[in-house]
Symmetry: D2
Subunit: 424 residues, 4 copies
């Protein structure tokens, strides 16, 4: 059947645009450049290093489905600070300065476009490189111009947008989010319920650019933008890169459940000191994160099905801004479990991780998989990318899958399915 | 198609025989009795509390396949000490004495038959309740008599045997293990390469009794006993109940691999103070355990496939006899991982568990599933029970599956398959 | 010089009165009764088990200074719930129920007097056993009556009062606290700035009863009550029993400082589920605790003296109500230190403790040492008891000593001093 | 009284000689050079940064007693490898390569003299830069020549020697160690019971050079060398720099004892990957370390005095060679304690430290304090330096002090005493 496969054209450059040019996105950018130069390996990225079991044996994912090549990637971004990617990466102190120095020319050339920003949504930081406009719609149009100019200037064939900026204040969906009409009206009338990230997502989707949301903001998880995505044939996904603590949680919880071990307490605390930590020190922004992180266990344990094991689960999450650590985020989990005849046991997990090191390969994969999806005519919510998110966006009324291993199965089966139709 | 299903007769009593009546088996026994009396729940046991997703929705395993009922179970065992199950359970200090006191009559009635024992295989403990015989074959015949008498005396329909005794000294397979003829000749000639656990396994299989091996001993993982099992239509499985640290390892390692995170170090230490700890304080016995625990990561990470991520993995396991803890085993793991561009991160896992509390439900499930397998005419190695073992016994030349989630998938699909043919 | 010593009369009963009959005080009471009966040892108590190096060699403290005997102790208390000490101890689930059952008669006889309570100061719990009165002074007089009646009824020679009740909401000292006149006027006029614990302390001191404050409330740490204590010749001390995390902090911090190791971050989190945890879940009450716990490091490290090592220290404390744990409080500390040339290192301390088990011997020692002080005519603030407190009360304008080892030196030298004058 | 003080001449250079030019000594050397250049601070060193409370207030130690200045220090050393200090420091990977590069000229000039080495005492490593000689005495004479030449070549006024080389195999004192005569006879007759470190110590002391022993080897802790030291007026001290885990132990144990908390188990494990780890992977060398680390708790808790609290203490130490870590040594301690009525609690301490970063300031202080002692005519065993050692050398028949706070008190009082006589 091999000859029936469609050759999906992947000629031309892929532009990756990131709202936010902070620790995560500059680590991502520098890593791609370093990998191209042979100075590092893109570890943690399935598109670059992962393999899948196929009928013909284990195969590299990049040999299975037609992904954009690293050589064809160009980066752009927006930020409220005007530091270029070299300056921003140096300030972030994630990567070794000697590596950044070797990449200085390329990174310095990536200069942030001015950002759409609202202190209503992010209070604890502010910066000078901000767009002004008569209305929110005016700001959206400015972003659309940015996108067009970037595409033209860098001669891109295709674009994707990955939200790598700060967590916004918690936002409940309201009427303005319910239909495209209401949303566009809201943009024109400066509706306070429209967050900056939603203006970016709107601009991207209107331009036919796939959108992936790395933060817990509501953003494109609203009927208005889903409708637009379906109309424009654009893949969207979210929310919130699944990096440290939640990653561990969605690994360990399925294991406990597999063994029918009961859980009656799960206390999760985090210390982190980067800009992300500063933003989350505001209760409104923490609320977004808390909601994003909070449903994971419930989704995995399904207490309705096994009330004797999981209905008494007390789950508490704390995030603490702790400047001594910088980007070296650290989590400590205490898990109270019980076994045979109800006897209690405890698990403690201390994860000393680096936020941006874990997030960068996720941004990488989401960029390439979103682009793949678009070329394969898969529009709207990409549930098969749930693997990468703390709070996977799903079709209204369905529950997200949080179990990492079931998410992986879905990701792999989707890739195998694509590989049947589209040749590398 | 329901009417095409075979009704598998599960009338009559199931006798569960345990070589070893120490902490694990008495916790198992007391738990079954307590559950029958409504004084506790058999948490951690899939046969009692687990559910599976079927086409008709989530279903309790016990509603899906025809398992023996708790009411129909009778217990028997062998031990080198002559304490009855009440005395042994009290000494083990795993369960609350008040619960044991409520079960005193029933537990006291379970008295150990005299054991086959060799100080060559277990040096650090010894006891008075030991069989003597002219040859190893004579000892085997005595065990066969024990089995027949137990079955008759307790009017059992069927029997299974679960090895719950100490870890024996490490044993390399040798010529005497290679064929049934050689093995039986060795029994008659007192071959020193035949371990006590192999005499039990031989006796069980000859009597048509399914055998499951909860310790890392070689036991039935030899051609001689596999041949006998196939000839007699007896299911066998092993080795080594997957309880604390290795359980966590086979949960966490697949998660790291799923994300293509590299691992270059995994240090695992354990402190435990029960009889198991005393036995493992002997290097020869520790060797058995080390081999059993040691292959788990290699099997999951498959460094050949992903050498950049896993070929430098340094894996070290230490087990420390530490009397202050008794049965409250504790493990501490330090995992050195690396991500994007090779940046190092660390995970520490401290598992404060109770050995017997984790082992008892495994013994429960293996007893009922082994019995199920036998009634369903599945003989020889039961790879679908790999889920319960640190070092799953496989057909010669094939690699065991260590990934807990893939083991679960195999267990579930086997149960679904059985359910298509055999009605509850 | 032995013959010059004064024999301090310790004939007669010592009544120990505790506002609060919850986990801490009932654990204390039951422990004294159990020790008297030979069913347990008062571990953690220096008065019962401690020794001091003297010129004649190591000596038991109880052989050095004239302490009240356990046989001469009688207990009384106040609580907002009407459970007797047996019921309250059973509900607290700290001690083994079998032990409590053996002490049932004695414990049941200790019935709480009705409490002075104000929901303004403790919002998260409430109870039925509460005094009403026309003014705060009226409530004070009722407490004074309680004290007199108790003393008479139980034929006590002497009394001490140990505050073992909940943490009150944070209170800044104000004018009403500045002089005895203002305070008594405030009592008569129901000044909202007078907390219930201050009414107890006032009543105690007016009756000549030594007062020790086990919670972080302001209580007797005000000029008004200090003046009264000096006038009446009454020893007072506080604040906040130094039990788990802060105990470890005042052990570890002096060690780091001894070695001139720098510290730039100390993150302390706690999970606890008892009534104490519920009360501290209210930010106003947590504020009291935070202030009490917060000055410890600053006091020990003295950044003014060594700014290169300690001036950048970021210290953050979180207390989390976590019901699965009950009284089994647990702390996790992450300490970021730096050494030679500024290289960073980390220490993590996880303390799985039992709040009341650590607090009970402190209550024991404070009761006996406060009584000793009073018999030795030491009135006012007892700085030598700083050893037992998170936030030692000191004379206005002086800094408390937080270093556990310097506190111990002060305690021991005071006892040696006493022993020179007063014979056992 | 200031005018009665002796001015101790500290004109001229101090040569610091280290047998071993590995991670510890090169970190020490580079740190001194970096501090001189203003590129770092000698954190962790009391001679450089510590202060003491005097009658005139807190004073810097360097203002209190007459210490050699950093500007006057010159370094020399011996090693079995011929790497110079720049190469050795680079290979050790402790300090940032950029710092080492700035110090390249100075470090490269420090070239190792050829070492006295015996594979009998260190089996797991070997190197090319080794002295040969007709007898052990011949080797000693060669070392003496090295010392004289170094002193002359670098125009040193005074010298000290700090053993910074590997741990040698365990050695019981025997007849050859009992007198200087026997020892010198043994040197001439190649007695196998004389370890290389003893030849260094002999050479140093014969030259009037103070000797401090940073490893757990027996070395100068024998009557023969003590006699020689007293004869020559040379200060000696040892054994084994107290760096990570044992440092924490001697901080925490006194705190538990201060509170009369019982301890029934202390499990200590270590993972380390540097050359030190490789050497300790040999059981004979580990034995030296185990003995050195093992007496610490016993010494602090003094079970004879408080048997109810400490007589059941089970103390177990494991050291694991774990290459992924390099110099980033890590310890994990589990401490089982018990309180009021015997209730158990647990403390876990995970110390992520850097071996050489903790050892370098100790080498610094021992060099300057040994030199100070010699100028102040304090010869023989320097017990006041116990503060820096895991197994302090004491006068025969007396017990070492292990409590860090009592060690500090002794150190401080000795310095105060010196300051009364000798002016800065």
């Amino acid at each position: 059947m091999m000859n029936q496969k469609t050759k999906v054209p992947i000629r031309g450059r892929l532009g990756i645009l990131t709202p936010g040019m902070g620790a995560v996105s500059t680590t991502f950018m520098a890593g791609v450049l370093a990998t191209r130069a042979g100075w590092g390996r893109p570890i943690g990225s399935l598109t670059q290093m992962g393999s899948i079991k196929t009928e013909e044996g284990e195969k590299q994912i990049s040999d299975l489905v037609p992904l954009a090549k690293l050589e064809d990637i160009v980066f752009g971004g927006w930020d409220i600070f005007s530091d270029n990617a070299y300056e921003a990466a140096s300030r972030a102190q994630v990567l070794d300065q000697r590596l950044l120095d070797k990449l200085k020319d390329e990174l310095s050339a990536i200069r942030p476009m001015s950002a759409v920003f609202s202190s209503r949504y992010v209070r604890n930081i502010s910066g000078p490189n901000i767009k002004t406009g008569s209305t929110l719609m005016d700001l959206a149009e400015q972003l659309i111009d940015d996108i067009h100019q970037f595409k033209h200037q860098h001669q891109c064939e295709r674009l994707v947008m990955i939200w790598c900026a700060s967590t916004e204040a918690y936002l409940e969906p309201s009427d303005v989010h319910k239909s495209l009409e209401a949303f566009e009206k809201g943009l024109c009338e400066d509706d306070a319920s429209i967050a900056p990230s939603q203006i970016y997502a709107y601009a991207a989707i209107r331009c036919g650019v796939a959108f992936a949301n790395g933060a817990p903001n509501l953003t494109c998880d609203i009927p208005a933008l889903l409708a637009l995505a379906n109309e424009k044939g654009v893949p969207i996904s979210g929310k919130d890169f699944k990096t440290g603590q939640t990653l561990m949680k969605t690994i360990v919880a399925p294991g406990l459940k597999a063994r029918a071990l009961g859980v009656n307490g799960w206390f999760s605390t985090n210390i982190l000191g980067n800009r992300d930590g500063a933003v989350l020190d505001d209760p409104a922004n923490f609320k977004s994160k808390e909601v994003s992180k909070g449903n994971v266990l419930e989704g995995i344990f399904n207490a309705q099905q096994q009330p004797e094991l999981y209905s008494d689960l007390y789950h508490k999450i704390r995030i603490n801004y702790y400047p001594p650590r910088g980007d070296d985020k650290e989590s400590w989990d205490n898990i109270d479990i019980f076994g045979w005849l109800g006897y209690p046991m405890q698990i403690k997990i201390n994860f000393l991780c680096k936020d941006s090191i874990l997030a960068a390969p996720i941004a990488m994969d989401l960029a390439l998989f979103s682009d793949l999806a678009q070329r394969c005519h898969m529009s709207g919510i990409q549930e098969w990318l749930s693997f990468y998110y703390k709070a996977p966006q799903t079709i209204a009324g369905t529950h997200p899958q949080h179990d990492l291993f079931k998410q992986l199965t879905l990701l792999e089966s989707t890739l195998l399915e694509i590989s049947k139709t589209y040749a590398v």
